[in-house]
Amino acid sequence: MTILSFSFYLLVGISLVLYWLFPRQYRWVVLLLSNGVIAWLLNDRSYVALGLMYGMIIVAFAAGKLFDSLDEKKRLKKFVLIAFLLLEAGILLFSKDFVYYQNLLSISSISSRFVPPLGISYFTLSLIGYGLDCYWNKNLVEKNPFRFLLFGSYYPMLTSGPIVRYREVGNDLVSVHAFSYETVCFGLQRILWGMFKKLVLAERIGIIVNTIYGDPATYTGWFVWIAIFGFLLQLYADFTGSMDIIYGVSELYGIKLPENFDLPFMARNLSEFWRRWHITLGAWLKNYIFYPIIKTGAFQSFSQKTMGAFGKKWGRKIPVWCALFISWTIMGFWHGGTPKFLFVTLWFWFWIVIGEMLEPLFERVVNSLKIRTDCFSWHLFQSLRTFALVSLSAGIFRAESLRGGLSMYKGALISKQNPWILFDYDMWSSFGGLTIGDWFTVLLGLLILCAAAIIRLTTGRSVREWVLKQNLVFRWGLWFFLLFAVLIWGKYGPGYNTADFIYKGF
């Protein structure tokens, strides 16, 4: 079962009816129980996976309680923290990275039977965050194990996050929510919007990307650039689509989860991009890896040395770049730990550091050429530059391996250039089995995404709120259009195997 399957929505529907029919104070108990059933089905009915997930949640709960009781015994408290981190992070790394290194070292398969729980990357980070918060501030310790169980295993978050902090969502999960027609409508609308992005747009772009990536010997030159830029658009539609469905399902219970995206393609540089893309992962790394590293005594004394050697301005930056390197490396291991993922994440680190190092030079060039930086065209240039740099990283992310990705790039640069393919109507009209109608659908989908972004930017509120302010005919017309677009143009049903969400299983 996946969050795109009919059985999922049937179960969500039953769970919702029970949730809203029960007395207010017991609704979270209904959610906890239905959560267990849906999480079990999302884990392909694996009791082992479900048991491991609940085990990891119980460990985090117990760690929080221990930190509270050991507040005066600092050394023992630190020992418990290290044991907790090793256990939780160890299981995560084992499940994500071990298979790769086991194969690399030709060790006999001891992990092939191990099936990690769905969403282990997301809930493990949430649990580690909770443990660290409790270690630093004992007032945050949850006393009720069942409430904590709901937080750790909340099923909408298992597919692709978000990564949450207990202090932000813990109370909301168990607090009394009054039924609101508007909230439920908002939830349904958001699910529909997510389905549109995934089934209508991402699946179609995926066909183009898969065709090119599937035959790198044939598709060289400009085909590669089309696949790379196309993949970033596919990834955006796919990942934000899955998040929209997750947020929508959660809103049906009256529970709002922290947002993961904020118009990432508006970003003017890579640092800003990561504040707008997968926001909860970036915030987690900042709060629980980057800040604590920088604040250690070792980094502070390192900072003193670099300031002595390179002056105040650069001396302060060097330890920050080192801490960023560690953070991005950890992000690479979180994604899978293979050379491909490490390359993808360290690519961002490299350009962020280069950008900071060359900033004074860029400023001088811009000033000497008298380039205006307070206008739309400059912002557009910066956003396109960011998009291109992210695409180059995403292109490797999509490849089977780092070697395969780099050889594709080689094919793009060294092979004979073929820009005329852009105008080859006969080829594109049947490319990968797509029809001209499919191309128009992709174009229309991208235009709708752009329109939604413009509404967000100009009105400062969500598209759903903007639609709610419109007249009845327009409002309903818009939602019915989206519904029929998903039903008619969506890639699903018998004979079509909808691909999993790209970030499912991370």
């Binding site: 630093w136 709060n287 980057f290 800040y291 604040k295 105040k312 301005k313 960023l324």
Partner: protein, 80 residues
């Protein structure tokens, strides 16, 4: 140490960290008000404040402080 004295010393720390003598912070000053105050500079700033006042922020405070007023609250709770 009074709140005014802490505020004045905070000014000096901010001016030193951001290398800008024109900076004057108030209780409501946030990262949005100072151009270079991003997540990378945030910890540098926290450590500089710790050194100046001889105090220690715990990581939860570093992660959650929202403005200069909250920083001053923590400083005052430890120096007085």
């Amino acid at each position: 140490m009074t709140r005014e004295e802490v505020n004045k010393t905070m000014d000096e720390v901010f001016q030193d960290v951001f290398d800008d003598e024109g900076i004057h912070v108030t209780e409501s000053t946030t990262a949005k008000d100072i151009a270079d105050w991003d997540s990378m500079m945030h910890v540098t700033l926290c450590v500089a404040i710790e050194r100046k006042f001889g105090i220690k922020f715990n990581m939860d405070q570093v992660n959650t402080m929202k403005n200069v007023g909250e920083m001053m609250d923590i400083v005052l709770s430890q120096v007085s």
